[in-house]
Amino acid sequence: MSSAEVLVKGGRVLDQNGERAADVRVVDGLIAEVAAGLAPGAGATVLDAEGCVVTSGLVDIQVHFREPGREDAENVESGARAAALGGCTAVVCMPNTDPPLDDAAVVQAVLERGRRAACDVRVAGCITKGRAGSELAPLGELYDLGVRIFTDDGDCVADAGVMRRAFEYTRALPGAVVAQHAEDPALVRGGHMHEGAWSARLGIPGRPAEAESSIVARDIALARLTGGRYHLLHLSAGASATLVRAAKAEGLRVTAECTPQHLVLTDEACAQFDPVFKMNPPLREQAAVDALRAALLDGTIDAIATDHAPHAPETKDVPFEEAPPGMLGVETAFSVVYTTLVEPGLLTLAQAFAALSWNPARIAGLEAEHGGPIEVGRPAHLCVFDTTERWQVDGHRLASRSRNSPWEGWKLTGKVRHTLLRGAPTVRDGAATR
């Protein structure tokens, strides 16, 4: 680690302690000074933050970097670069790789690939071997490698008995959390979009919202039974939000995230049969969008995660029903949230950063390093956002290896100017450095 100094100059610092005009001096990867009007030391790198907001780097706790298995669609390097361009300093990769992350050797290999990447790359481990839903994966071995989130991801743990054991077993692993992609397979089998007026009209078999909320209700009951810790991945249904709200009021250890796309888009996006708008859980109706926004505002939903799911073009250039589910997101999350929620006044910038950085860092057990506050002595995982820059999403210009962005063509406000990982710029003046 070089002792070179980096000075982030001229911005407004926004963290858990509020907002103030301040420069941030970084030395040896740590925050050394936070104050207005700092002068750069000899040989310091000065990053211009004039007109920008300086905050802790974003923490996206649900991404798919497709390594190992589908490196043609994304790999750790390209995914982390895209994440850094989106303002992330930490990501959690989901375990639905091929082979899956149900084994210490595979987890080690991915973490190793992450060491050279533009983000702090963490992984979630499988709950069950092969994500098959029956036998527990070596949760303790994975935990010892730093895994804190356990999930079978795209495959919901349907067996209540297995889920119960996962909740119980992880109580021995402090900071571990059982995360669920809540969709009852029996209710979504053969379905490709939200079951509603649009699916009925388009003739596309549906996935009802109740497939999610019924599993959420069951999982909350199991969390109550076991005292286990539960995190709901990409909450998409209004009824699920109601259940999570009640569970939190009861004092259960339950957290939830949702994606930018579920906060903005509806099932109507599927009307032209474009598989770029296909994901699981599916885009739902406007009432769900409204319920999710309310749940984000009142703290029922703790975090925004993107479920960044790259797919090679040939896998999406097919009929809707034949395409794999998933959308890009890691590079556009802040801009989409800023444009659709902050700029119109629905969410404060502080609330947005809480959902994009501070809270997810805590859920993933990364709060000692990531997610602020911006204080002397903490690691300098920072992001500098220009909240006035306007840009248009062009899939060909994203850093991801894939192009399946649902925001293609959108004109967005707010863009990352600089991202610092342990004090080193991974993005400088809007361009990736590694």
Partner: protein
């Protein structure tokens, strides 16, 4: 009209009526000694059929040939799709051979829309999953108009059976509604669309309440695999509760017509004696299919001049 992927592409009631009027002139051509006109000479129509279909494919090909178009057929059984070629590659391959229209039948909803987004040629939807089958709806309306026409305003139509999984139902509801028909969907709740917001229909689970009042009973094919999906218990129970038995047919008005897109399951959704009765328009539907598809191909590919 560049493509016909959905009834929506026809341009509302006026566009539908125009297409049905045009069909009349092609019926006339079919009655000639040599039922062939040079209207589409030099044009090439390819059928891309990813699902088994005899009548729809033959109907389109016959229509194209009677318009003097060249035809090519691409069916899954004999094609490189079995070797893993994608739909996109298949479309690009046939386009590279120089085609003017692509007729697509595919098991996935929206397949024709996808092909239309990739192709230079005009695309005709020959059935896409559970979504639509617009030429079926046109030929059904044409057939009905010949018996009740030309106006179908106020005509009471019951569509009976597996509405949820039926592309025919989705197209026919749109098209019959545009023409002013009064629509009732009949069948078990498990075979109804999960949501009917915006559908211009009423729904009944009891066929006996509906039959005495309707002018047309349109029956849909019941597939045996729906039993495995727990959508109804047995074919016998279906036939007893929702099938058009001879006894039920006897309680209908004498001038009520019976229609079916085929192929029929005699003894399940329709009794053999009803299918073969004078009320049944089933074979006429097939006959009119060729003329309707001639009209569609002519509309998409023709010069716009007289048909001759």
């Amino acid at each position: 009209m560049k493509h016909l992927c959905s009834v929506d592409d026809l341009g509302g009631r006026a566009g539908i009526e125009q297409m049905l009027d045009l069909t009349d002139s092609f019926v006339e051509i079919q009655q000639r000694d040599i039922p062939k006109v040079p209207a589409l000479r030099g044009k090439t129509v390819v059928s891309l059929f990813f699902e088994d279909s005899t009548r729809t494919r033959l109907s389109f090909e016959t229509a194209a040939k009677r318009l003097s178009a060249d035809t090519m057929t691409f069916t899954v059984g004999s094609s490189s799709v079995k070797k893993g070629e994608s739909l996109l590659d298949t479309v690009q391959t046939v386009e590279a051979m120089g085609v003017d229209a692509i007729v697509v039948r595919h098991g996935a909803a929206g397949a024709a829309h996808r092909v239309a987004s990739w192709a230079e040629a005009s695309v005709v939807n020959g059935g896409d999953g559970r979504h639509e089958h617009p030429t079926q709806a046109l030929l059904d309306a044409f057939t009905l108009r010949r018996h009740r026409g030309p106006s179908l305003d106020g005509c009471r139509v019951a569509i009976v059976g597996d509405i949820r999984n039926s592309r025919v139902a989705r197209s026919n509801v749109k098209l019959f509604h545009e023409l002013g028909c009064d629509l009732t969907l009949v069948g078990p709740p498990t075979l109804m669309p999960e949501r009917l917001d915006g559908w211009p229909v009423s729904v009944s689970y009891n066929i006996d309440e509906v039959l005495p009042d309707v002018d047309v009973v349109y029956l849909l094919r019941i597939q045996r695999e729906r039993i495995d999906q727990a959508l109804f218990p047995t074919l016998r129970e279906y036939a007893n509760r929702w099938g058009l038995t001879a006894a039920r047919a006897a309680r209908m008005k004498p001038d009520t017509f019976v229609m079916h897109p085929g192929p029929m399951n005699r003894g399940v959704e329709i009794a053999a004696e009803v299918a073969d009765s004078s009320r049944s328009l089933v074979t006429e539907q097939v006959a009119n299919g060729v003329a309707v598809r001639m009209a569609v191909l002519w509309s998409l590919l023709g010069s716009g001049g007289p048909v001759v």
